[in-house]
């Protein structure tokens, strides 16, 4: 089966130790995590993980099932490039003296859409928010000038192109079921 980049989106309760549980699934299946981003989601007390991996479809399916099986995981799904919008933030710390003496660097930075955050006599910091491949490309180009002092990336974040918000729908459904369950309980007690 063909190996390619899959983006796995996971939603979990915000509880201690859950990150360990999620990453252990990748370890157990010998799948290397390319990038991992965890942050609060738009739903209170729910955290969202964006994990990218290079694997095949069968393995991706297996991974999401094994992750979703964890009690505190709400939903896990995998996506390929066309299913999602992706973006990544990267920060670059460049040597100001090299930047000043190399006009090509300034041109490169302008064309990349990077934003200059700070300039002083020692360093110049840049921020870029683009697709992951564009971050890599910019880094490679800058590195050629030997001007990069530090470089860091946020890890990929993604939102789906789905017309349905699966997690919100799921939680709504679950909460309705709880309500039904409580109702049934009351009725049976009355009987």
């Amino acid at each position: 089966m063909e190996k390619k980049l899959y983006t796995i989106l996971i939603y979990s309760e915000n509880v201690v130790g859950i990150l360990n549980l999620v990453t252990a699934v990748f370890t157990r299946n010998q799948v290397n995590i390319e990038s991992l981003n965890v942050s609060p989601s738009g739903i209170p007390n729910v955290h969202k993980y964006t994990v990218t991996v290079i694997t095949d479809e069968a393995q991706a399916k297996k991974l999401v099932k094994q992750i979703e099986r964890k009690v505190d995981v709400i939903k896990a799904n995998f996506y390929v490039e066309d299913d999602i919008f992706v973006s990544e933030v990267a920060l670059f710390k460049l040597s100001t003296s090299i930047v000043m003496s190399t006009p090509d660097i300034s041109r490169l930075v302008r064309h990349s859409g990077a934003k200059v955050l700070e300039v002083n006599e020692t360093y110049t910091t840049l921020q870029i928010c683009v697709k992951p491949d564009a971050v890599t490309e910019l880094y490679k180009k800058l590195a050629k000038y030997k001007c990069v002092l530090q470089y860091t990336r946020s890890g990929v974040v993604a939102i789906t192109r789905d017309k349905v918000e699966r997690v919100s729908e799921f939680l709504k459904e679950q909460e309705n079921q709880q309500f039904d369950f409580l109702e049934e309980g009351i009725n049976s007690e009355e009987c």
């Binding site: 201690v16 157990r28 069968a58 297996k62 099986r69 009690v71 505190d72």
Partner: protein, 561 residues
């Protein structure tokens, strides 16, 4: 904690005290006597004994097994059992002491990072850091352990939360929003499955422990009988369908019966019910069930397409899905297909079973010992096994005519499981005899539990099949390692003297003519009994599918090296 456990209806606790769990034990002291009495506490001799006893208790009774141990080494000793319970879907709750929250992460005395260690081998792990959380955490622990696909849960209980005061406010957890214990079966999947079954010429059901866990024995029988579908059972599913049921074709797996193993490769529709296609059942996946349409009924979505690609998956509790499927299938007659199992069964009978059960000369064999017990109990006893040849022979030749009659370590293959699991089983099932079949290797891994048997007079009928070898490893060395017996021969102690020290009635049998009377004596003796059988040293469990081989190539007799 005591009130929260009481609210769960817990009656039996297996445990071992220690520094970080002393406040709990101090409270337990009151709750095990006098007017507050709510529990019986069984003091085991090692924490591994506690968890296996809880597993045995849970497997035989269908209730959750409860364990209380201390921090660090105490709970570390339960990890084998937790992994075992996870892979075999056994509901247990372990409450473990922990150092106080204030010293967590300081390498305090008997501190263990339990959450990190236990998480991958448990269904849920939670650290109770405040006493106010106890009722909620305990209720959630028991709810998760027993609902859906059952499994082990650990409550890590720091000492400060044990000693801080708060009012007891009962809480009941029966809903967790991120967790769907039993998905509803989907009608379109049921229709599709029924269509396949109705058009099948050679259907075969593969029955696993899921049926037992769901208590769906009757539902299974009705389903099989309506469409006249023969069934093979996995090792853990042996008592899901009675041994004497006409549609029972025998045990699946590496050392199961020849007919169901071979015939599954001829079936046109396979209906897997509450089983997980373990490698011990499938053999080489590249050649397994390639000719068949596969319908998989399982409560755990993660089992679908994990090992075997499924044509129709019905993810639900089979107690619910089986009757719905039964309603959609037609009555059918597959007697010709069922009849076709017979020549293979006869072949196994002639080449394997007769030799294993009715030898006329030579030393005793494990098969005839298990058979003698099965005849004496008429298949109504509880078979507990250790791991190895003792397990394979006793699971093959025991009879299972009552639900929840097989307790064995299937997935993890834990030597040392048998004796403590049998102790637990005697607390979970008081009306049926509990037999523990063990080899000399496995017995000695948890032999200290003879002390527990002595103290509580547990009516475990211990059957030691002593061949002075780690028999199964020796068999593999013989078959696959040019007979190089690397450290599998064992010098054994005098078990009669050991039993005498523990005041346990003991009998040794060497001659087969003495076997029936000895088993009868074990059955008639009130309380524990230790029957040591002196077994042929180098016997092999057959039939066998060699590791990695196709089930098509199951061997009835050992091939020459």
């Amino acid at each position: 904690m005591m009130e929260s456990l009481k609210a769960q209806g817990i009656k039996t606790i297996f445990g071992y005290p220690g520094g970080s769990i002393m406040p709990v034990y101090d409270a337990l002291f009151d709750y095990t006597r006098g007017e507050k009495k709510a529990f019986d506490h069984i003091l085991v001799r090692h924490e591994q004994g506690a968890i296996h006893a809880a597993q045995g208790f849970a497997r035989v009774s269908g209730e959750v097994g409860t364990v209380i141990v201390t921090s660090g080494p105490g709970v570390a000793n339960t990890l084998t059992g937790l992994a075992d319970a996870m892979i075999d879907s056994t509901p247990v709750v372990v409450i473990a002491g922990q150092v106080g929250v204030g010293v967590l992460g300081t390498d305090a005395f008997q501190e263990l990072d339990l959450m990190t260690v236990a998480q991958p081998i448990c269904k849920w792990v939670y650290q109770i850091r405040r006493p106010e959380d106890i009722p909620w955490a305990v209720s959630k622990a028991y709810y998760l352990a027993k609902s859906g696909r059952p499994g082990p849960v650990v409550l890590d209980f720091p000492k400060n939360a044990q000693t801080s005061k708060c009012d007891y406010v009962p809480e009941t957890v029966n809903f967790v929003r991120s967790y769907i214990p039993s998905p509803r079966p989907k009608q379109e999947k049921l229709q599709k499955a029924a269509e396949l079954i109705n058009n099948a010429k050679r259907p075969l059901a593969l029955v696993g422990q899921g049926v037992e866990l769901a208590g769906a024995h009757e539902e299974l029988k009705t389903f099989l009988e309506k469409a006249n579908i023969p069934a093979g059972r996995t090792m853990l599913g042996l008592s899901a369908l009675a041994s004497n049921h006409p549609l029972n074709m025998g045990m699946l797996g590496m050392h199961g019966n020849y007919a169901p193993n071979i015939k599954q490769q001829e079936a046109d529709v396979v209906i897997a019910i509450g089983m997980r296609f373990s490698d011990r059942v499938t053999g080489n996946l590249a050649t397994y069930l390639k000719q068949a349409k596969v319908i998989h009924l399982d409560i755990d979505h993660a089992e679908i397409n994990k090992n075997v690609q499924t044509d129709v998956a019905i993810v639900a509790d089979c107690k619910e899905s089986l009757p719905m499927l039964t309603a959609l299938i037609n009555e059918a007659d597959h007697s010709e297909w069922i009849e076709s199992f017979k020549p293979l069964r006869d072949k196994e009978q002639e080449k394997v079973v007769n030799k294993a059960l009715h030898p006329t000369e030579g030393p005793l064999l494990m098969g005839e010992v298990a058979n003698a017990v099965a005849e004496a109990t008429k298949g109504m006893g509880v078979t507990v096994t250790d791991v190895g040849q003792n397990q394979l022979f006793s699971t093959r030749y025991s009879k299972y005519n009552t639900p929840r009659s097989i307790i064995t370590s299937g997935g993890l293959g834990t030597m040392g499981f048998g004796l403590p699991a049998a102790i637990g089983a005697t607390f979970g099932e008081k009306n049926r005899p509990v037999f523990a079949f063990m080899g000399d290797g496995g017995l000695q891994m948890t032999i200290q539990e003879l002390g527990t048997i002595m103290e509580y007079h547990c009516p475990v009928k211990m059957v030691l099949m002593n061949n002075n070898f780690l028999g199964n490893v020796r068999q593999w060395q013989n078959m696959f390692f040019q007979k190089r017996y690397a450290f599998t021969h064992m010098l054994n102690p005098n078990y009669e003297e050991i039993c005498s020290a523990y005041k346990i009635p003991y009998l040794k049998v060497k001659d087969r003519k003495d076997l029936p009377a000895a088993v009868e004596k074990a059955l008639k003796t009130d309380g524990p009994f230790f029957l040591e059988t002196i077994i042929m040293e180098e016997d092999d469990v057959m039939p066998m599918t060699a590791p990695g081989a196709s089930v098509n190539d199951m061997m009835l007799e050992k091939e020459a090296n």
